[in-house]
Point group: C2
Chain length 134, copies 2
């Protein structure tokens, strides 16, 4: 079940886009998997169908999903979807890092922050469980 923060400054449709992208990267949504219908998803999330549609529109524009009138919306089979979603995440990280650099923070301070999130073990393992898919 997807949890939304209706109080967040981030619009609902942006949160939804992020969540779907996250599920794709986690492998819980695979190419050609069908997404919930606009109306069902909206009912399930307690929001308006138009809001779901807006998220789907953006995702289709970014070629993360594709939609067929009368059938439904599906995860894009495009091989580069994962690559694209990865790149999106990387870009967000880079933006924050650039801002920090502009504020004179040192590389080591940033690296420390990354270690704070991922743990400080010296191994170069990513630490997650889907590593074997390489």
């Amino acid at each position: 079940m997807i949890r939304l923060d209706l109080q967040s400054r981030l619009p609902i449709y942006e949160q939804l886009k992020n969540k779907i992208g996250e599920l794709v990267l986690l492998g819980e949504l695979k190419p050609d998997d069908q997404l919930p219908s606009v109306r069902n998803f909206a009912r399930e999330l307690g929001i308006n169908p138009n809001t779901v549609q807006k998220a789907y529109q953006d995702l289709e524009r970014d070629k993360i999903i594709y939609s067929v009138a009368g059938r439904g919306s599906y995860i894009s089979p495009d091989i580069d979807v994962t690559k694209q979603l990865h790149e999106q995440q990387i870009q967000k990280v880079k933006s924050a890092v650039m801002q920090a650099k502009a504020c004179n923070l040192s590389k080591d301070q940033i690296i420390d922050a990354v270690y704070d999130v991922y743990g400080r073990d010296t191994s170069h393992d990513s630490g997650n469980g889907t590593y074997e898919k390489i």
Copy 2:
């Protein structure tokens, strides 16, 4: 001169707060330095005085600056200002990294992104000061 993006999703007063914090961390604004008056700053930036005041209010609430009625607004002499601003930047980086981690990105991928911003030289120099002028 401070440049604002009036089209950004980030409110003007938030941009202004960021810019001032940035100038403090760059050492261009030092403790007890006087900031432009609300009215002058607004005229200079081409925005409404209320917007500047809102930024100043937030900065004073966060103890980044202090204001004296009849005199002006000044950078707080609090020794921890720099530390606090650093922490803000670090938190933004961590948020982006946590989001990326939730999407299954590996630690190495994040580290690579950091290197993309800071450069890949193996030295542990922080890169601040006049380093970039070489």
